[in-house]
Symmetry: C2
Subunit: 225 residues, 2 copies
DNA sequence: GATTAAATGTGACTTTAATCACTTTTTTTT
DNA sequence: AAAAAAAAGTGATTAAAGTCACATTTAATC
């Protein structure tokens, strides 16, 4: 399925386009299948395309001074990836990788910029998108610094349960060291945090399979920090 | 000086406006003088206006689970404040306060939205603005988590020296507890970090007056973390 | 200028989570 | 299925920074 017009998951921005504009997008857009762990964009490489996640799940990650990657966010279908770089830098400022098998559309930057320059409604929707995205980082920034480990772990579990899987029984397609990079901790501490939450009966853990047993308590731990 | 047309510090976005549009802006815009510590916008309050910092210096801050504020960023003239909320929420998601005497223009949201909807060039400049802003937070997020205290303190000193004051002798118009909220630490630890940096001869501290004595070393501490 | 209040500095102590070293389990490869 | 590699778990130890309690300095107010 390579047709933008009938794309099941068109962004609000793309919804604003005229038929001609969709045509332009279509012609400068390539759909790619990715398996888990494959790179979507790579920090430091030339940014010739924006990626749009159509299916699957991806992580946004960025190298820090220690040399290890920090996961900035887990993104779901309907997310633009690499968009922040396009208009301001020639080089991607962060990486993104599939964390499960995914479909991604690569949109040529030049065409994207053209749409942005000529269609105010399109640009407006992007502004909205970016604002929401940024606000989510504000929350994350503050939370990550004021909550301790178990609280951050609880946050992440609730995120995967409520936002991603919409179920109290779910799997997290991340290794322990990825979870660590996500909650700003270490592999060992992730193990311990999960054990803590397990011990008090909030969750059941089995490898990457999780079940929330006491949602209220988990929520309380997430909120209390 | 209440005239947008002759505003000394018009944003790139406003540069794109036609005379009529500037006129619209003008009519829905109010300039306000603020003294240090005054609120610009307040988290949780209705967002009827966007603020544009014309003169001075401001902090963007947000309440965390602990009940204390975290400083997200120090912003300079030319920054939009509260813009992320305008299109997505009725209520401000963060606060902003002047950290020194400042001038702010409050722009009515409705007019702002109107410009956004009708002028693609305006919207595009905002997209660029937001992208740059978000990227700066990515850096901050990763740095704050991978650097330890002295590194973060060094970052902040370099920021005030290089970005804000463009001099190795400068003052920081923040209390120690504000510095703590900025580098994600505590008042006491700020004192100690400054002492550390002082002891090894990188800086000279006297209240809020600072001098960088060994720029290279400070840079190294900032980079090494 | 004295008094009060706010801000900052300092040492002792505690807590949290990182690090290290090693074991066990799971997954992948041959 | 065996061997190798990767991932995850575990206990002991360490380190970094937070907390607490109090002293000192600076600024504000009467």
């Amino acid at each position: 399925m390579e047709n933008c017009e009938f794309c099941k998951i068109r962004s609000k921005a793309v919804e604003t386009l005229t038929q001609d504009e969709v045509q332009l997008l279509q012609e400068n857009c390539a759909e790619v299948d990715l398996v888990a762990d494959e790179n979507i964009i790579k920090e430091g490489s030339l940014s010739s395309h924006i990626a749009y996640l159509k299916e699957g799940l991806a992580k946004i990650h960025k190298k820090g001074v220690k040399g290890t990657d920090q996961i900035l966010k887990i993104v779901q279908p309907g997310s633009y990836i690499g968009i922040q770089t396009v208009l301001t830098s020639k080089v991607h400022q962060y990486s993104a990788s599939a964390v499960e098998n995914s479909k991604v559309c690569y949109i040529d930057i030049t065409s994207f910029k053209q749409l942005l320059s000529t269609n105010a409604a399109f640009a407006k929707e992007l502004v909205i998108y970016l604002c929401q995205d940024e606000l989510s980082y504000f929350n994350r920034f503050v939370n990550v610094h004021q909550k301790q480990l178990d609280g951050r772990m609880a946050d992440t579990l609730l995120f995967f349960a409520d936002e991603i899987n919409k179920s109290r029984i779910f799997t997290i397609p991340l290794k322990r060291y990825d979870l660590a990079a996500l909650i700003c901790s270490t592999r060992e501490s992730v193990t311990r945090a999960l054990k803590d939450l397990s011990d008090i009966g909030t969750i059941k853990v089995n490898g990457n399979s999780f079940e929330i047993l006491n949602y209220e308590l988990l929520k309380k731990i997430s909120e209390k920090g």
